[in-house]
C-alpha cells in the first residue's frame, strides 16, 4: 500500500494531538476529545448505517457511572475501570438495540430517545449513582499500574491515545466489508435484504459497536473530570453530540473532530454568559441545517473533489476521509 492523502491526514492529526497541550489546557482538550468520540459514535451509526440515534447519552452516561463506580469502590486499574464502562454500555446497546431496530426511520429515533429517558430515571433513582449530586471524587487510577494519570497532561495523553485508537477502529470498520454492507443497507435496505444479507444482524452489530464507542467516551470523561452527573445521561448530551455531527459533517470520519473543536470552543467562549449557550446552540443548529447541510468537513470534501474533477490530468487521490 502506497502512502496516500489519507495517511497524511492521520499523520497531521497525530502531530496536532501531540502538540495541542502547548496551545490549550489539557482538560479542555480532553473535553474536545471525549465530545468528538461520542459524536463519532453517533455519526458512525447515522452516517454509515442510516440509524439516527437521539439517545446516545444513555451509553455515555451509564458508562460514566459504571466506570466511576468501579474505579471508586474497587480501586482497580484505569483500563479495567474503562473496560467495565464500555462493557456495560455495549450490553445496554445490545438490549436496547434488539428492540429499537425493529422499527425504522423516525420511530427508531423516538425509541432511542425513550430508552435514554428510562436510563435517566434509573440514574436518578439507583442507589450507587448519587442521585442529584452525581458520582463525585472518582479517583484517577494509573494505566496498567505504570502510567500515573494524576497529572492533567498525562491524563490528556492517555485519552489522546485511546481516542485515536477508537477513531482508527471506526475508520477500519467503515472501510471493511462489514462497513460496505452497512452502507448498502443504508442506501437501499430491501435490495441488501434480497441479496441475502441478514439486515437486522448488521444493524444490531453496528448499534452495539456505536454504543460501546459512546460508552468509551463516557468512561474517559468520568476519569478525567472525576465526576459523573445526571447531565451525562440527559437529553442535552445526546443533542450536543448531534450538533457536533452536523456542524462537522455527517458521514465523514473527521467531521466529529472538527465539529467538536468548533462547538466546544464556542460553548467555552460563552462560559461567562451561560444563559446564552442554549440560544447559540439552537441558532447554529438551525443555520447548519438550513445552509451548510454538509458540515465543515463535508463542504471541504465536496470542494476538494470538485477540484479534482476539474483537473483530470492529475492522478486522482482516493477519498481523503
Amino acid at each position: 500500500m502506497t502512502f496516500q492523502g489519507k495517511h497524511l491526514v492521520w499523520l497531521i492529526a497525530a502531530l496536532l494531538l501531540l502538540l495541542a497541550p502547548l496551545a490549550a489546557y489539557p482538560l479542555f482538550l480532553i473535553k474536545i476529545l471525549t465530545a468528538a468520540l461520542l459524536a463519532a459514535s453517533v455519526n458512525f451509526l447515522v452516517g454509515y448505517a442510516g440509524l439516527l440515534s437521539f439517545g446516545h447519552a444513555m451509553f455515555y452516561g451509564s458508562a460514566a457511572y459504571v466506570s466511576g463506580h468501579v474505579l471508586k469502590t474497587w480501586g482497580v486499574d484505569a483500563l479495567v475501570g474503562i473496560a467495565a464502562g464500555v462493557l456495560v454500555s455495549a450490553l445496554l446497546g445490545l438490549v436496547t438495540g434488539v428492540l429499537a431496530i425493529r422499527r425504522q426511520g423516525v420511530y427508531f429515533s423516538m425509541i432511542t430517545l425513550a430508552f435514554a429517558q428510562v436510563v435517566y430515571f434509573l440514574a436518578l433513582r439507583l442507589p450507587f449513582t448519587g442521585g442529584e449530586d452525581g458520582l463525585q471524587n472518582v479517583p484517577r487510577a494509573p494505566v496498567l499500574g505504570l502510567i500515573p494519570t494524576d497529572d492533567h497532561l498525562a491524563m490528556y495523553y492517555v485519552c489522546a491515545v485511546i481516542v485515536t485508537a477508537a477513531f482508527w477502529l471506526i475508520w477500519r470498520i467503515v472501510h471493511s466489508p462489514f462497513g460496505q454492507v452497512l452502507k448498502a443497507i443504508r442506501d437501499n435496505e430491501p435490495r441488501a435484504m434480497s441479496l441475502g444479507y441478514r439486515v437486522n444482524q448488521y444493524k444490531l452489530l453496528a448499534f452495539v459497536l456505536s454504543a460501546a464507542l459512546g460508552g468509551l467516551a463516557g468512561s474517559l470523561k468520568v476519569m478525567s473530570f472525576e465526576l459523573a452527573t445526571l447531565t451525562d445521561v440527559g437529553w442535552g448530551t445526546s443533542g450536543d453530540a448531534l450538533l457536533i455531527c452536523i456542524v462537522g459533517g455527517m458521514a465523514t470520519l473527521w467531521g466529529p473532530v472538527i465539529g467538536a473543536i468548533v462547538v466546544i470552543a464556542l460553548e467555552h467562549s460563552l462560559a461567562s454568559t451561560p444563559e446564552l449557550v442554549q440560544i447559540v446552540q439552537g441558532l447554529v443548529f438551525v443555520l447548519v441545517v438550513m445552509l451548510f447541510r454538509k458540515g465543515i468537513v463535508g463542504q471541504w470534501l465536496a470542494w476538494w473533489q470538485g477540484r479534482q474533477r476539474r483537473q483530470p490530468s492529475k492522478p486522482s487521490a482516493q477519498e481523503a476521509s
Binding site: I111, Q278, M290
Partner: protein, 293 residues
C-alpha cells in the same frame, strides 16, 4: 364499598381522573404529531416546545394585560399557530425536497433555540397560573375539581372533532389524498404547499391549545414541554402514527394505565409507558395502529 382490590376507592377514582387528564394531553399531542407526520413526513420534535409556548403565552397575556383564561384559550393557540406558520413558510418548506432527516433536525434545532430564548427572557423557574374554575364535583367517593373534568371533556371534543374533520369533510379528504399522492392532488388544482403550511400551523396550534389547558394544572415553565414530549413519543411508538383515531385511543388509554400504576405500584408510574413501549416492540413491532414500518 370503600375499597376495591384492597385499594381505597377514592384513591382509585382520583388516579383514574389524573390518568385521563394526562391522557388528554397525550392524545392531543400525539394527534398533532400524527397529522404533521401523515402529511409532511416529518416528526415535529419542536412539538413539546410549542406546547410550552401555548402555556407561556396564556401566562403572559394574564400577567401583562390581565387577559383571562377563556380569551387565552382562543388567542394563545392563534399566536402559537402563527409561529408554526412562519416556521413552515420560512424554514421547513425549504427542506422537503431533501432527506427527511434534515426537516427533523430543523425541528430539533428550533426546539432548542425557542426553549433557550424563553429561558433567557423569562428565567428557568416555573410560574403558577390560577385555576379558572373553582370548586368541583363531590362524588361521595372522591372530590374531582371542575377544571379537571373540563380538560378531559374539551380534549375529547377537540380530538374527536379533529378526527371527524379529517375523515368526514372535503378539506379532510384533500388532506388524506395529499398524504397518499401529493402530485396527483396538485394536478387537480389544489394548492398543496399552502395546505401543508396550514396543516402544520393547525397541528402546532393544537399543541399550543394543549399548553393553555395544561397551564392551570402544571406550572408554566420552559421545561414543561421537554418532559412531556418524550412520553408522547413513546405513546406514538406504541400507537403508531398511521391512524388519527388510533392516536386518540392510545393517548387516553396510556394515561389511564399510568394513573392505575400510580395506585398499585407508585414507583413504576414514571416509567410504565416506556415499559409498555418495550413490550409492544417485542410483541408487535409495528405498533397498535401502525401500517408497516
Amino acid at each position: 364499598m370503600d375499597t376495591l382490590f384492597g385499594i381505597p376507592l377514592a384513591a382509585l377514582v382520583g388516579q383514574v381522573v389524573i390518568g385521563l387528564i394526562n391522557g388528554s394531553f397525550y392524545a392531543l399531542m400525539s394527534l398533532g404529531l400524527a397529522i404533521i407526520f401523515g402529511l409532511l413526513h416529518v416528526v415535529n420534535f419542536a412539538h413539546g416546545v410549542q406546547y410550552m409556548l401555548g402555556a407561556l403565552v396564556a401566562w403572559y397575556l394574564l400577567d401583562t394585560w390581565g387577559i383571562s383564561y377563556w380569551w387565552a384559550l382562543l388567542l394563545a393557540p392563534l399566536i402559537v399557530g402563527l409561529i408554526g406558520l412562519a416556521m413552515e413558510r420560512f424554514f421547513l418548506r425549504h427542506l422537503y425536497h431533501l432527506d427527511h432527516v434534515y426537516a427533523l433536525l430543523l425541528t430539533v434545532g428550533m426546539g432548542i433555540l425557542i426553549e433557550g430564548l424563553v429561558k433567557f427572557k423569562f428565567g428557568i423557574g416555573g410560574q403558577p397560573y390560577p385555576n379558572p374554575m373553582s370548586g368541583g364535583a363531590d362524588l361521595s367517593v372522591a372530590f374531582i375539581p371542575w377544571y379537571r373534568l373540563w380538560v378531559i371533556a374539551v380534549a375529547l371534543v377537540v380530538s374527536l372533532g379533529t378526527w371527524l374533520f379529517i375523515e368526514r369533510t372535503k378539506i379532510g379528504a384533500y388532506l388524506r389524498a395529499a398524504n397518499e399522492n401529493p402530485n396527483l392532488v396538485r394536478t387537480f388544482g389544489i394548492n398543496v404547499p399552502r395546505m401543508l403550511m396550514l396543516t402544520y400551523a393547525f397541528a402546532v396550534a393544537l399543541a399550543g391549545f394543549s399548553g393553555v389547558m395544561a397551564a392551570p394544572i402544571y406550572q408554566v415553565s420552559p421545561h414543561m414541554g421537554g418532559s412531556l414530549i418524550i412520553v408522547v413519543f413513546a405513546v406514538v411508538v406504541i400507537g403508531g402514527m398511521g391512524s388519527i383515531l388510533g392516536s386518540i385511543v392510545t393517548g387516553f388509554g396510556l394515561g389511564v394505565i399510568e394513573g392505575l400504576t400510580k395506585v398499585f405500584y407508585p414507583e413504576g408510574a414514571s416509567v410504565v409507558i416506556f415499559v409498555v413501549m418495550i413490550l409492544m416492540l417485542a410483541v408487535r413491532p409495528s405498533g397498535l395502529f401502525g401500517r408497516g414500518q
